[in-house]
């Protein structure tokens, strides 16, 4: 068999391919549900209900979608320029660390600044921390040719150990009875809730506006053009005068900043302090979301609500029918692979010969 490039691909196919691929994945995953000995229809109904079926379920899903949206955007801008940033997990944690360092109540009180100013300072330092963490690997790639995949991956482990170190020492909450958690954020710095009696917070609006901003940046600015050119063909981009290193650095700063913000917003919106298990792999899921969204910033919003829904829905479904929650991870990972294949088939046709 071989693949032949299609002359035209219908815009309908581009929208329907991912939906069909996810439906196919759910069909195949039904085998796993049967293996776990649960009725397929009821399991999926509970999964959907737990994800989107009530105001509470939807609020939990949106709460979970906020960090995923941000790490998804971080992966989108980086992958668009072929900077394979697998380190969003680490960048998220340094962002959270910076947020607590600036906005935490050390010695019982915080920095003596007006809350508004302090909030901006906190978010900026989180973005900066994430950006700087990715700057190293990006420069090593641009200057020395060191593969950024490996360096960003390894940095995730280093950052987690650094967080553990800080939680044992300088940032330890003395009132936490030996539980490894940081000092709490000052109350004034916490994000307000969007819907009373739920956990969904104004970080959602921040994430949504960042998605729109990134879309506009990619579509309407010179930097956006350079990023797309670099991703489409690095050599052609260099020939036509795209400043390769400078664009790569800008992409790294953007991507790292978005992931760093994910950490700060998670602390300010949900946990109010930093723990070692704050992120169940949001950084890695961000890559999946970016790919599900075909690297389109606005589609990232949809993809993150889908992935968050699977994770949240699986929790309540698992309590009811006993199918392990890992089914959500299987569905998400299998969706990634099937969406990749389906998208390819919209651009290529298979010739058997």
């Amino acid at each position: 068999m071989r693949l032949e490039k299609r002359q035209h691909s219908s815009p309908w196919a581009l929208v329907l391919a991912p939906i069909g691929a996810v439906a196919f994945t759910l069909l195949v995953s039904a085998l796993l549900v049967r293996w776990a000995g649960a009725p397929v229809g009821q399991t999926y109904a509970l999964l959907l209900q737990g994800a989107y079926g009530s105001v509470f379920a939807l609020s939990e899903t949106l709460t979970r979608a906020i960090p995923l949206m941000l790490t998804g955007l971080a992966a989108t801008v980086a992958f668009k320029a072929r900077l394979f940033n697998i380190g969003a997990e680490g960048q998220l944690y340094v962002g959270a660390l910076a947020a607590v360092a600036v906005g935490g109540m050390h010695d019982g009180t915080g920095l003596p600044l007006p809350p508004m100013l302090l909030f901006v300072l906190m978010m900026l330092s989180a973005a900066l921390a994430g950006a700087l963490l990715l700057l190293g690997p990006a420069l090593m790639k641009a200057r020395l040719g060191v593969d950024e995949v490996v360096t960003t991956l390894l940095l995730n482990f280093i950052v987690l150990l650094l967080v553990s170190l800080m939680l044992d020492g300088p940032m330890k909450d003395p009132t936490a009875m030996g539980w490894p958690q940081s000092v709490a954020l000052m109350g004034e710095l916490e994000l307000t809730k969007l819907i009373p009696q739920t956990r969904v917070h104004t970080g959602l609006l921040l994430a949504l506006s960042l998605a729109v901003a990134l879309w506009a940046l990619m579509k309407f600015t010179v930097l956006g053009f350079d990023i797309r050119a670099l991703g489409a063909n690095p050599r052609a981009a260099a020939f036509s005068g795209v400043p390769v290193t400078r664009t790569m650095v800008a992409v790294a700063l953007l991507s790292g900043a978005l992931a760093g913000l994910a950490g700060a917003i998670e602390v300010a919106g949900r946990t109010s302090y930093l723990t070692l298990d704050m992120s169940p792999g949001y950084g890695y899921s961000g890559i999946v979301i970016a790919m599900l969204a075909a690297l389109h910033p606005l589609a990232v919003v949809v993809a993150s609500v889908f992935v968050a829904g699977m994770l949240v829905g699986a929790d309540s479904m698992s309590r009811a029918v006993g199918v392990p929650t890992f089914i959500a991870d299987v569905i998400v990972a299998a969706s990634l692979i099937s969406v990749l294949v389906a998208t390819l088939l919209t651009q290529y046709r298979v010739r058997w010969k």
């Binding site: 390894l154 482990f157 150990l161 990749l340």
Partner: protein, 307 residues
């Protein structure tokens, strides 16, 4: 200073070094085979988890220990076949496909474990490989047969790569697939074969953890070892002998930080010692970067008739 001498003069330290190095040697050889054929395989982390799980499950279900190793290798091979289909036949992004395989294999293994053992609080155990007391060599006698297998695999892989027509074909499709195709070598076939074999190595690397180093399956037990192997291959400049050296060096520092933590000499927080191997890996990558000779076609998808 005498602290160091004490640690280094203790044979138990060197036994630990070789034990820690074993899965890294196997995994690094696996990555090396894939990359020599021009394909990055970030599926390794998940393939190791799957190998650890299925190998252990087979033994738990009554298969022999070598049966478990075979099952782990087959698991790796099947996942490798999927990676080959996505990256070689369909020419999709090697990064994304590999990460997808890691996520899928990990999720499937954890799901399978939970379905098989829904209510256990302590993980069920098996009788793992025993030390090779019959071997008269010091240090090696205190290892399990899988370590011997790993060490023996290094010259075998090197021989295949540099001294056989198959190895030449693997290196050709990794350097210049267009020229290889011109010579009548099937790029798709050779790359698929290399990925399947390499992934089988990764599966065996994973089952070392459950069948030799420990006797049970835990969540997060692979814990980044797969990613370390990806780094070690770059450090080794894609050469099997240097891969062995790199794995031993990494294991040396890992064992050293463990001992330093345990001994009273630990003046720094334990996290600093744990960071050491990762920091050294990055440093090593920077140091070798200038003279690293990447396989020329690495990460470049190949579609017949397309430039």
């Amino acid at each position: 200073m005498s602290e160091f001498v004490d640690i280094l003069s203790n044979p138990a330290f060197w036994v630990a070094v070789l034990r820690i190095a074993t899965p890294l040697i196997l995994g690094t050889l696996g990555v090396l085979l894939c990359e020599r054929a021009g394909v990055l395989n970030l599926g390794i982390e998940g393939i190791m988890v799957a190998g650890a799980f299925t190998g252990w499950l087979a033994v738990y279900a009554g298969a022999g220990l070598w049966g478990g190793v075979l099952v782990a290798a087959l698991t790796g091979a099947v996942l490798g076949l999927l990676h080959a289909f996505l990256t070689v036949v369909l020419a999709l992004s090697q990064h994304v496909s590999g990460l997808g395989i890691t996520l899928l294999a990990t999720a499937l293994s954890y799901f399978g474990y939970r379905v098989s053992f829904p209510k256990v609080s302590t993980p069920p155990t098996i009788t793992p490989f025993q030390e090779m007391d019959w071997l008269v060599l010091p240090i090696l006698a205190e290892q399990t047969p899988l370590t011997l297998l790993a060490l023996a695999s290094v010259p075998v892989v090197a021989y295949i790569l540099y001294r056989t027509p198959v190895g030449l074909a693997v290196r050709m499709v990794g350097e210049n697939p267009h020229a290889a195709e011109g010579q009548g070598v099937s790029v798709v076939g050779v790359r698929t074969g290399a990925i399947v074999l390499g992934s089988a190595f990764m599966g065996v690397a994973g089952c070392f953890l459950t069948l030799s180093a420990f006797n049970a399956f835990f969540f997060n037990m692979v814990n980044g070892r797969g990613w370390i192997c990806v780094a070690l291959v770059v450090f080794a400049s894609w050469r099997p002998g240097k891969a062995l050296l790199g794995a031993l060096l990494f294991a040396f520092f890992d064992a050293l930080q463990l001992r330093l933590q345990q001994s009273g000499a630990a003046v720094l927080p334990y996290q600093m010692y744990l960071m050491l191997p990762y920091v050294l890996s990055i440093l090593a990558l920077v140091l070798v970067a200038r003279k690293a000779s990447y396989p020329q076609a690495l990460m470049k998808p190949y579609r017949k008739g397309e430039r």
